[in-house]
Amino acid sequence: MLSRVADSVFWMARYMERTNGMLRILRTNYISSQDEVRDFDWHTLLLNYSDAGEEKVNAIGNHSIRVLEHLLLDRDNGPSVINNITRARENGRAVQDHITKEVWQCLNDYYHLIREKHIQVQIKSGDPVTALDALIQQGMLYHGTVDITMARGEGFNYLNAGKFLERAILSADMLNIKLTELQYNLQAPVELPALRYLLYSLSGYELYLKTHRGNLQADQVIQQIVYNEHFPHSISYCLRQLLRYFERLEPESLPENYRQLEFLIGRAMNNVKYSIIDTSDGEGLKQFLQQTRQELFGIAAAFNQYYFGNS
């Protein structure tokens, strides 16, 4: 497979995963913003998913609709959802001969959907949840289409490697965003809704309820997001899947390149596996999350260097 093609497939998957993650966190945050007495504070989220300056963040930080508009539809905001979908489509367009026609059409439809007037009107002046649901559903359609139509070859492996790497980064980020909002102080009685919304954003609330009978505790929520092997958004699960798809690339890899990446993925997995979460040590938790993110970014950089021929 061409290095450029592998690069594009990998990034197409990353942008699609990022889109899904953002849509879900925006959906739960928007709902929670409607459910509170005081103004909902979007600042932490904006710091992560907006490249606007402090002035703009402060100006819109307490206006839910304006935040949604900015994070979903603002072309001038680099990380906005519409830009992510556009980039996913551009990457898909550049590798149309390596993804199936169905996957390409699905991406293309996604692009046309978010540009549709009724979606934009719903977000700006109607019911944003309806619009978000429609967008999330199109994303689900993409995942199903990939699963059903794509051959299990090199392209599929890069696609999944990109997807799980991005998902691990997203889970670490979302946990970090929520804990930052709580100032990493988990000893004081934590506000329960905050943790519930975090689980909602990661599609993990139902699993939590089934496992812990509704007893919402910070410690257990973090355990699920970091370690739970049955939770498809946990960092451990994502890393294990990343390794699984990466190992399938071995026959088509140059041996020295393969060893470099295998080492980095293995190290990240072990660092997560042999860590201890102590909710009384906020600072330690923060450091752990930051280190994990660094390692994930290191893996992405190594793919770029050893497999995509970019230095």
């Binding site: 551009e90 367009r93 149309q96 001969d97 059409q105 046309h112 995509f308």
Partner: protein, 481 residues
């Protein structure tokens, strides 16, 4: 009946050949199709029209216009009423194109080798050497199987009496074949059962034939040569076509930066190292293909690829330097070439063409400018062209001045009226002018022409310009069995 309102406003012009209506009413080829859509209400027709647009949009058969910051997705306008070619006409066209391509291909070999045609005084040397697309680097380069014009699109038009004329030969990187394929796939979606009932010949073999030819020009003794399609990239207006063809043939779609040349061999950069490339179907123009030999500022090509080609380590399709054969001034010599090389009379006629280098021709053309089309010899896409009947005095004066300054770069032809075909516009059928571009594939085993082609249509009323860049659209083209 509804249908007769559909047809009632169909006004035909006696000076124009209409593909559907003749003196005796609807021509036999169209009868079946007309009776099928007769029973449809205006609503149903409009619904079909909208469905076609939606299908093009969702399949991404679009090109992006970047005029206003954010890209606007546009579809290449498609008219739902097919253009129908009868079997007997097709036989004539097929034979004519094959003959023409044989002669043009020998001409290219001759002009880049011994140049007998110049020595025998058939084609003036000055005409060839003054042609900007005559590539000196191709002189004495041997190309695999002596084939230059692997893929060509020959533009045909019909005069008022229905005679077919060749308007242009496109021998470099002709585009539009994906629209031939996609238009067909849209037609069977919007008109179920209509294709088999009319015994329309299939066009779906095109990618297989093309791949077979590409594989067979590979030089290495290898059962499975590596064939790639070289595209200028996703911002090219024909990018959709490049991806479609690569996908249909199952070959790698590469950009210039994916390839490199080492020791006169071409390699592509893959995740598992370098892999040698044997055949390149390039959609990058000659002047951009190798910055070391042609335009040094080109980012689309591959440095050193010309050397690899010359050495015979890679086959490039179409050959470089074909522009000298589809130059608009060289065009007028094609009938002479057919007589000279093949000793046959041309089957398809040329449009009479006046070389404006000749002062007598110039005088004649200037005196009759309102009945002439003046074209720049090295431009295409409907640019650099003046249609006398539709031009203002000022435009004519400007063109006259330009011609006087550089007569070699211009030719003139009498205006051929172009036949008309029914189009579904604003709820009724209306005649619009059309041309026809069949695609021919020249391989070691001979020439194949899939029965069909791209019918381009001038959607503006009265317009004679069918180019997509100038408001033209396209139609599905049926060749009947």
């Amino acid at each position: 009946m509804e249908a007769h309102t559909l047809l009632s406003k169909y006004g035909i012009d006696d000076r124009v050949w209409d593909e559907m209506f003749g003196r005796e009413g609807i021509r036999p080829a169209y009868r079946n199709m007309v009776s099928a859509i007769e029973s449809l209400s205006a609503d149903e027709m409009t619904h079909k029209d909208e469905l076609a647009k939606k299908l093009f949009m969702s399949q991404g058969i679009t090109f992006t216009v970047y005029s206003s910051g954010e890209g606007i997705e546009k579809i290449f306008p498609f008219d739902i009423i097919p253009r129908i070619v009868e079997a007997v006409d097709w036989e004539h066209i097929e034979a004519g194109i094959k003959q023409r391509l044989k002669a043009l291909n020998i001409f290219l070999k001759d002009i880049y080798h011994q140049q007998f045609i110049i020595k025998d005084g058939i084609v003036p040397a000055k005409l060839i050497y003054s042609c900007p697309n005559f590539i000196r680097q191709m002189v004495n380069v041997n190309v695999p199987f002596d084939i230059y014009t692997h893929i060509s699109g020959i533009d045909l038009i019909r005069d008022h009496d229905g005679t077919y004329y060749v308007l242009e030969d496109n021998l470099r990187t002709p585009s539009g074949v994906s629209y031939m394929l996609e238009n067909r796939s849209i037609t069977y979606r919007i008109f179920p059962d209509l294709l088999p009932r009319n015994k329309v010949r299939s066009v779906k073999d095109y990618p297989d034939l093309l791949l077979k030819n590409l594989v067979s020009v590979a030089n290495r003794q290898k059962s499975d040569p590596t064939v790639v399609l070289l595209t200028p990239g996703m911002y090219n207006s024909a990018y959709f076509e490049h991806t479609t063809l690569a996908r249909m043939m199952g070959i790698e779609l590469v950009e210039g930066s994916d390839l490199l040349v080492d020791n006169h061999k071409v390699y592509m950069k893959t995740t598992s190292g370098l892999k040698q490339v044997d055949v390149i179907y390039r959609r990058v123009d000659d002047e951009f293909i190798d910055p070391l030999v042609f335009r040094p500022d080109s980012m689309l090509g591959v440095p050193g690829i010309y050397g690899a080609y010359r050495t015979g380590n890679v086959a490039i399709v179409n050959a470089m330097g074909n522009g000298v054969a589809d130059d608009k001034a060289v065009y007028s010599y094609v009938p002479a070439m057919i007589r000279y090389y093949l000793n046959e009379e041309p089957i398809l006629k040329n449009v009479p063409t006046y070389q404006l280098e000749n002062p007598e021709n110039r005088k004649l053309v200037f005196e009759n400018m309102n009945r002439m089309v003046i074209k720049k010899t090295n431009e295409s896409g409907g640019y650099g062209m003046l249609i006398g009947s539709a031009a203002s005095e000022k435009q004519m004066e400007e063109f006259k001045r330009a011609v006087e300054e550089d007569p070699r770069s211009y030719i003139a032809q009498p205006i051929i009226s172009l036949s008309s075909a029914p189009c579904y516009i604003n709820g009724v059928l209306q005649p619009r002018r059309v041309d026809l571009r069949p695609f021919a594939l020249y391989g070691p085993e001979g020439i194949d022409i899939v029965p069909g082609g791209l019918t381009r249509v001038a959607l503006k009323e009265g317009s004679l310009v069918v180019n997509s860049s100038q408001g033209g659209g396209s139609k599905d083209t049926w060749v009947l069995q």
